[in-house]
Symmetry: C2
Subunit: 333 residues, 2 copies
């Protein structure tokens, strides 16, 4: 049993509606899209015909004529990652009310696929694409060459020739680390991209420095649960285990937490955590994570508006994260 359209049923077009309502094709269009004034009685007849024939406008024809498919594309590394999943929903929440559909594709974090998808989206006459994948200056020319409007989502810094929206990673990391410091922990580790060009790393460093504390150990981790798990094992295996750790993402934290439990340790008692992102999972881990929540919805809305609305005046729109205190840092909460 399959659901092919009943055989013999020709697709009903605008022309059928026009004939049925006794008007010209143009009037149907006017009635439906308000392109010109239509007499009330005529409009009613048209609408009735639409209903009766269950007419569905052909969006492809419309897109061809208009050069816009009322579609916006989103390129993410992994749509199943909760952070990106939430981001995509935010984009959808902003786009749908404005009459746009959202087409999400997975780059798996490869530049090659990102560019391929950008082309494929362009060919679909998208009105713009939001790129939430790792991107640097060297990618810009290729993006420009596609001719589509695009903007960078989840990008924390300015980028020449690009519109970007993202959270202030450094300030967030600093706030989280300061909170850890306020608990009195003397040695505070870092997990994530431990490089001086990573804003979270910088934030952690600067909070420590400001407090006159030596930086604790740094452990590299990709932004994945298994990556966090491995990093967590490294952490728990340390000869001088730090009292606390700033972790660069919730995803990583989830993995770290697993390693802590497996080692028979207790968080925050044996090692306290502060995390980053504020995804739902951070609320349901054990212990619940103290984390810097990104204003995901607001960022999605801003990005969509940049794409479909009039451009705002700034090239980079920076949002502030909000430290949400839960138990992993040692607070009673």
């Amino acid at each position: 049993m399959t659901n092919a359209p009943p055989t013999g049923t020709r697709k009903v077009t605008r022309k059928d509606v026009a004939r049925y309502a006794g008007v010209s094709d143009a009037v149907v269009s006017y009635t439906l899209n308000g392109g010109a004034p239509v007499a009330a009685a005529t409009a009613a007849r048209v609408r009735e015909a639409v209903r009766l024939l269950s007419y569905t406008p052909n969006a492809s024809a419309r897109a061809l004529k208009l050069g816009s498919a009322r579609l916006i594309g989103v390129i993410v590394p992994d749509s199943a990652n909760p952070y990106f999943a939430e981001l995509c929903k935010a984009v959808e929440a902003a786009a749908v009310p404005a009459g746009y559909a959202v087409l999400v594709v997975n780059s798996n974090d490869t530049k090659k696929r990102t560019l391929e998808y950008l082309h494929s989206l362009a060919s679909r006459q998208v009105d713009g694409v939001l790129i939430a994948a790792t991107v640097d200056e060297s990618d810009v020319p290729a993006f420009q060459a596609t001719g589509v409007r695009w903007a960078l989502l989840n990008h924390s810094s300015e980028l020449a020739e690009a519109f970007t929206v993202g959270v202030d990673l450094e300030a967030g990391a600093r706030a989280a680390t300061e909170h850890l410091i306020s608990h009195g922990y003397q040695t505070i580790a870092f997990i994530g991209q431990a490089r001086p060009d990573d804003p979270r790393y910088l934030g952690w460093r600067s909070a420590l420095r400001a407090a006159g504390l030596e930086p604790g150990p740094t452990i590299y981790s990709p932004f994945t649960r298994p990556g966090g798990h491995a990093a967590g094992r490294e952490l728990t295996g340390l000869r001088n285990r730090p009292e606390a750790v700033f972790v660069s993402s919730d995803m990583i934290s989830i993995g770290v937490l697993r390693a802590i439990h497996e080692a028979g340790l207790n968080a925050p008692h044996d090692v306290a955590l502060a995390s980053f992102d504020g995804t739902v999972e951070s609320e349901y881990s054990w212990p619940p994570l103290t984390t810097v929540r990104q204003p995901i919805l607001a960022m999605g809305v801003a990005a969509v508006n940049q794409l479909i609305g009039r451009a705002t005046s700034t090239s980079h729109q920076r949002f502030e994260g909000e430290l949400v205190i839960r138990r992993s840092c040692g607070c009673p909460g």
Copy 2:
């Protein structure tokens, strides 16, 4: 700074390529789509022109001509729910290699939005839509009326006039409950949709009956983390707390686990759990969940094939879940 296409640049069409390569429009089409044999030298010239002009075919025009946008739609209740997020990725994994893009929309579990989206997808000339939302017989006529091909994903039983794919929920629940029984637990509760038309409920019931055990308490929960949390509080508050519980989804389990921790209890020691779905999160909770893993990828592939390939002979394609043993049931694992 915005990324509008450089002003004054007209979009390059097939005709430009043809002129540049010194051939007719048709030959460009033949070269690109293999509609007819083309001399090697000519083909090379065309391809060169394509490259030089960075020509991107207009998918809307193609879709209009062909009546197919090489697009498949997916309607889910919530794309940020890990189970559905993984399902969507599975669909994408099957669709993209076949040359189809995937457009995912959120119904928020309302019939109204499901139907609206079905229409909107139909108007976009999708080649089919996969519906992974709660659907019953009464919805079928309206779906049929849209004229699009559709199939039900995540639907565990037959449905007249529909093609469905889903896991054997009852068998899965039975296996999970049997495993709990094998641990020697005497009283085993149920959390989920505690109604005799829910296959998981039935599976739990029948395992208990077969073992000669009285059914433990049943607690209702929607398939969400907060729902599970509330159910978990109820569970931990019970005068005679059951020794174990079968939970209808990982999402719910995550919430239950939080309640267990908050009550100062220990799983599996104080209450053992077996769950359902096998999402990634089940592997990273504490304790990791013993759960019935659904073959998500295989189901996504099957559904896509049904939509775009030749129909298989069956109307319902049933998959078996696989019990994966972790710690929440009391196993050392």
